[in-house]
């Protein structure tokens, strides 16, 4: 018999009873469907212990790493603290220390915290305004001593939150930040594996974090970054990426433009077309895709068909709020 804790509430899990069955018996509202470990509907997270291995079978390794598990397959061996998917996030206050333009429509926003903020490079957080308006943004930096989070935020026409960040937020202002989420990040394993990073627009943010992390952790395999937009004015960090490529022989950077004006040093075309004209076989590669949802979904399928294993494809599609 073990105890399951959710917030302040404690529930008993009988011997031979799954976490899902225990919670359902206790009238805790948790989504589920097949109860066979196939549909992944009942995936939840342990915040205190590593779940039994059998409850994590078939999950992405970045989910396993964060102690996600399938409630229907979990017969606890010790007391567990649980976090359900719909449980409200814990927010803490940070202070804006930088708000400056990266290009004509994208700002670099840096938020500092008093204590360390734990996350994996490539994850996202929710930012919340005092009236409750909330949006998700990818973190662009790697965890470090300075306790800061860095974001690249594009001004969306009519976008309430991005216009507020661009026009009204200044250095010294406070902003509420949720716990990090998402499973699109680098794990330090298979150092010799090829890594393909493809992003459009501010999709560079999580990719830049993942890239920095992989290089810092001594990844030795080839790393290729493709960053695409329509016009050169909508790309950013171009010089920094070229410099990184000079410093690291295994890192390769290709800026891509889908518009008509193509300066020297840029490749013409849509980023997915360019990538797949250069990479015909992705067997054994780790692939990270971030940016426009259509691009991400299309590339996910293409990468899979080119031989990348589904477990090696990490994607973060931007969800764009309509108002």
């Amino acid at each position: 018999m073990t105890t399951l804790t959710i917030d302040q509430n404690k529930y008993v899990c009988q011997t031979g009873e799954s976490v899902l069955d225990a919670l359902l018996r206790e009238n805790v509202n948790l989504a589920f469907a097949c109860k066979k470990g196939t549909c992944h509907s009942c995936m939840i997270r342990s915040t205190n212990v590593t779940p039994p291995q059998s409850a994590q079978s078939g999950l992405k390794n970045t989910l396993i790493n964060q102690n996600y598990f399938l409630a229907c397959q979990c017969y606890p061996e010790q007391d567990m603290h649980l976090k359900l998917p719909d449980q409200s996030d814990f927010y803490r206050m940070g202070t804006v220390v930088t708000n400056e333009l990266l290009n004509r429509n994208t700002i670099l926003l840096i938020i500092a915290f008093e204590d360390a903020f734990e996350f994996n490079a490539g994850q996202f957080v929710n930012l919340q305004r005092s009236d409750g308006l909330t949006r998700s943004y990818s973190i662009a930096n790697v965890p470090q001593q300075s306790n800061t989070l860095e974001f690249h935020i594009r001004r969306l026409p009519g976008g309430k939150f991005s216009e507020w960040l661009h026009d009204e937020v200044s250095v010294g202002d406070s902003i509420a930040v949720s716990e990090p989420g998402g499973h699109c990040f680098y794990l330090p394993e298979r150092h010799e594996q090829g890594i393909l990073l493809v992003g459009t627009g501010t999709g560079l943010a999580p990719l830049a974090g993942i890239l920095t992390d992989a290089l810092a952790q001594g990844h030795t395999g080839p790393i290729h970054l493709f960053h695409g937009s329509r016009e050169v004015e909508d790309l950013y960090r171009i010089n920094e990426m070229h410099q990184l490529a000079e410093q690291h022989p295994n890192f390769n950077y290709t800026p891509c433009l889908s518009g008509t004006k193509i300066p020297d040093g840029f490749v013409m075309g849509r980023v997915n077309d360019i990538v797949f004209s250069q990479f015909t076989d992705l067997k054994g590669w780790r692939v990270f895709l971030c940016g426009h949802p259509d691009m991400v979904n299309q590339m996910k399928k293409q990468a899979f068909l080119k031989g990348a294993a589904i477990a090696d494809i990490y994607a973060d599609a931007f969800l764009v709020a309509q108002h």
Partner: protein, 122 residues
Amino acid sequence: MSNTLYERIGGEPAVNAAVELFYRKVLNDHRINRFFENADMDKQIAKQKAFFTMAFGGPNSYTGQDMRNAHAGLVKVGLNEDHFNAVMEHLGATLTELNVPGDLIAEAAAIAESTRKDVLGK
């Protein structure tokens, strides 16, 4: 032999190996890939795993009615015998490629074949 086909084929690791191979074949087949056009890849892979587990006679909770409900929308947009045959073709080719013995392939094919009426809503 008392072992189930699922165990004899190699259990969950065998299913995982089969699913990726199979799903690539399906997505590359112009006869049937339109039925998968708007599907989320990760969810599809999970469903294919369930399909293979069932075809191998492994633990599954699918009833004839589930198969009917799941495919009703596709039947409306034209899912027919030819498409079912194409999927059976890929199932056989996948297992052959994984060096599963012929008699086991035949067993798996027979289980998959038994869902034909429900899948096609007949």
